[in-house]
Amino acid sequence: MSKLGNARVRVPERAKRGEVIEIRAMIEHPMESGFRLNNVGKPIPREIVQSFSCEYGGREIFRATLHPAVSTNPYFLFYTVATASGELLFTWKDDRGGQATHTARLEVTEP
């Protein structure tokens, strides 16, 4: 079972064409580092989100590769230029083959 939980994404509803918009994305995940020990001193196996990406209008605009040093519930803030109305697709993949997606709609108006 994948430990990928709820995703929370913040994208402005609308923006003017050419405007640089701020995007925030977070997903619930323990990001088990593999360096922790359980109550009997055995290491807890690593289970992390390995990658996060964001596509805007079918084109990848952000990709992150995560290592165990990324905190629980990985969070990213980044920017993009509003070019055309469309969908933003957020994808998280864990190291157990699990995947979670989230979409957000951006309306782009003429400046």
Binding site: V20, S33, F35, R36, L37, Y56, R59, E60, I61, F62, R63, A64, T65, L66, H67, P68, A69, V70, S71, T72, P74, Y75, F76, L77, F78, Y79, T80, V81, T83
Partner: protein
């Protein structure tokens, strides 16, 4: 009355909270305090410091591993300090969640933009923290996240620009509660 007030008031916070570890303050304090109490306090403080050192010093990746990771990622290419701004708290109370922001001085145009940003830790169990890929479509070369920092150490950010030059920034972070094991 006046002497007593001078002697006791600074002694209490220093003793209880262990803030005033400065030995220069003790001679002033001693006359109004009984000798054994202050000696015991000093002994306890020394013991506490010793215990902290023993507990908070687990084996960690050495800076050589950071050098190895840098070499593995960028080959032998030279990395120049500059163009990158790495924002991290100087003192991180909780090493498990440390906010980080990386900004690169770049116009983010088709001709001149940031291709990727890499974050490295000098003393975490693994030197790599995270990598992000960017392009001209980002408009602004700024990325924020939250990371784990195992111990007080230097964090390094390296940016790869579109002309394949490498730029970096490093920040020393003091960690009160370790980020390893959390």
């Amino acid at each position: 009355v006046r002497r007593e007030a001078r002697g006791t008031t600074p002694a209490t916070p220093a003793g209880w909270f262990g803030v005033g570890v400065n030995t220069t303050a003790s001679p002033e304090v001693t006359p109004s305090l009984s000798e054994p109490a202050s000696a015991r306090r000093r002994a306890l403080r020394a013991l506490a410091a010793g215990v902290c050192l023993l507990v908070v010093r687990p084996a960690k990746a050495a800076p050589e591993e950071l050098a190895a990771a840098l070499h593995e990622t960028f080959g032998g290419r030279s990395i120049t300090p500059g163009k990158v701004t790495l924002e991290l708290p100087k003192l991180a109370e909780n090493g498990a969640v440390v906010p980080v922001t990386v900004t690169v001085d770049s116009p983010m145009t088709e001709r001149e933009h940031v291709k990727s940003i890499h974050l490295f830790a000098e003393k975490n169990p693994l030197p790599r923290i995270l990598e992000v890929r960017l392009g001209p479509y980002n408009g602004r070369a700024r990325v924020a996240s939250r990371i784990r920092i195992a111990d007080s150490q230097q964090i390094t950010a390296v940016a790869v620009l579109s002309d394949d030059t490498l730029w970096s920034a490093a920040v020393q972070v003091e960690v009160t509660v370790t980020g390893c094991g959390t």
